[in-house]
């Protein structure tokens, strides 16, 4: 079973040299820590940054320089700044190669729900609907089951949708799965996790073909 950093580490392996990547809040943010040193990867933040760097050193925070999670950040050499229309423009035009975000639920068709729980205070979708509707390639970082032990990988989402048929890959504490026309296709098991455990934790259609390898994350 993976912890948050483990999920982030595994997702980092999907990041290729030369990619432009947008990282959502939470686990996706951690992915930045595990991108191989030699790689030229530029992080996009939808409030208007390409070439986002790490957090500033203490005392060097600049209120005019934040990421989409409203955290103080820095710029790397070669960075650029633009307005929100151009930012979502480059997302919509699929210039951003990879979007990594969290989810409350994902359906076997690739629908995603991550913005609203009926009856609870709704904070809004922010840029999530734009990202999922437009991104070239979407990886979801999420917990396989909720705190009540119920699967979050479902035949159909029960929560209001953020986007339809858009997720391509999911990395959870238990497994790596692709969305295929036949449902969730199990690709890898987390260290120490059995196929049986993944089956039990997956409510949607699960495709298991042949031997499922344990993932290698270091």
């Amino acid at each position: 079973m993976l912890d948050k950093n483990g999920i982030a580490k595994r997702i980092a392996k999907e990041v290729k040299d030369g990619m432009y990547v947008n990282l959502g809040i939470g686990i996706p943010t951690l992915v930045a820590n595990f991108i191989p040193k030699g790689f030229n990867v530029e992080l996009q933040s939808e409030n208007g940054i390409l070439g986002m760097g790490p957090f500033p050193y203490e005392g060097e925070e600049d209120p005019d320089l934040i990421n989409a999670g409203k955290q103080t950040v820095t710029l790397l050499p070669g960075a650029s700044i633009f307005d929100s229309a151009m930012s979502f423009g480059m997302i919509r035009a699929q210039k951003v190669d990879l979007t990594i975000l969290g989810a409350m639920e994902v359906s076997e068709k690739g629908d995603i729900a991550n913005w609203k729980i009926p009856g609870r205070m709704v904070k809004g979708m922010g840029g999530a609907m734009d990202l999922v509707a437009a991104a070239k390639h979407i990886i979801v970082a999420m917990q396989h089951v909720n705190k009540a032990g119920e699967s979050k990988l479902l035949p159909e989402c029960t929560l209001p949708l953020t986007g339809v048929r858009c997720v391509r890959k999911i990395v959870t504490e238990l497994a790596v799965l692709d969305i295929t026309p036949h449902g969730f296709k199990l690709l890898e098991r987390a260290p120490g996790v059995t196929v049986e455990e993944i089956k039990k934790a997956t409510a949607g259609k699960l495709v298991i073909e042949g031997e499922i390898p344990e993932m290698v994350i270091d």
Binding site: P63, T72, I81, F88, R92, G126
Partner: protein, 232 residues
């Protein structure tokens, strides 16, 4: 052109009850602090406010929520403050949530004289309810209308009397877009320079979009999430 006004109070003259106002900024970054303070002082009520976020309890648009001057918020992400939540749940405050890119592009559309745009954001979700869906090259898009505000209030780093504006880092965000979408656009700046001091190539918002400009005072520029790393 000389669009300079003395202060925020002068700049917001003409804002009346029940008007629609755009307010630039992302979170607390790049918000027109002086205009917001002047609005609080003015006591105008029933505001429909288009802004990506709604501030925090005691800063930004939160100040106008405290005084119940806002009737409706049109935003992509709200509720970093308890008073907002209380008013929304009690029904005092109406809230319309819009995808962030849609919000940005609807402002751009207005500034560029385009009555509507197409975006895939929200297709197949409740956001699409009642909206025209149109397929181009096998992909569905929603048609979303341009929006305009009675007043747009933006914050820039530098400006000149002609209304030319330059923003600094991510304090740019929605500001140049909303600057284009106001029937009257008010800009507050940290530095008001003489005509000719801004490089024409570096101007982000050409003055034609700006109607009034003033130098703002005492910027607090509060940081919402102070995240730092340690020297290794």
């Amino acid at each position: 052109m000389n669009k300079v006004v003395a202060n925020a109070g002068e700049a917001i003259k003409g804002i009346r009850d029940n008007m629609t106002l755009m307010v630039g900024g992302f979170g607390l970054c790049g918000i027109p602090e002086n205009c917001i303070a002047a609005l609080v002082k003015s006591g105008v009520k029933g505001i429909t406010c288009i802004s990506n976020n709604a501030g925090v309890d005691d800063f930004g648009l939160g100040l106008l929520l405290q005084t119940r001057q806002i009737r409706k918020m049109i935003s992509s992400y709200v509720g970093e403050n308890a008073e907002f939540e209380r008013q929304m749940l009690s029904g005092e405050l109406e809230v319309e949530l819009i995808p962030q890119g849609t919000l940005a592009t609807r402002c751009l559309a207005s500034g560029y004289g385009m009555p509507a745009i197409f975006t895939p954001a929200g297709v197949g979700t409740e956001i699409a309810n009642g909206k025209e869906v149109r397929n181009f090259n096998g992909k569905d898009y929603l048609m979303e209308y341009a929006f305009e505000a009675d007043f747009a209030m933006v914050k820039a780093w530098k400006g000149d009397p002609a209304g030319n504006l330059i923003y600094r880092d991510t304090a740019r965000n929605f500001n140049p877009l909303m600057a284009m979408a106001g029937k009257i656009t008010v800009a507050e700046v940290e530095e008001l320079v003489k005509p000719g001091e801004l490089d024409p190539n570096q101007v982000h918002t050409p003055g034609i979009f700006v109607h009034r400009i003033f130098r703002g005072e005492k910027y607090e520029k509060r940081i919402e999430q102070r995240t730092v790393r340690k020297h290794s």
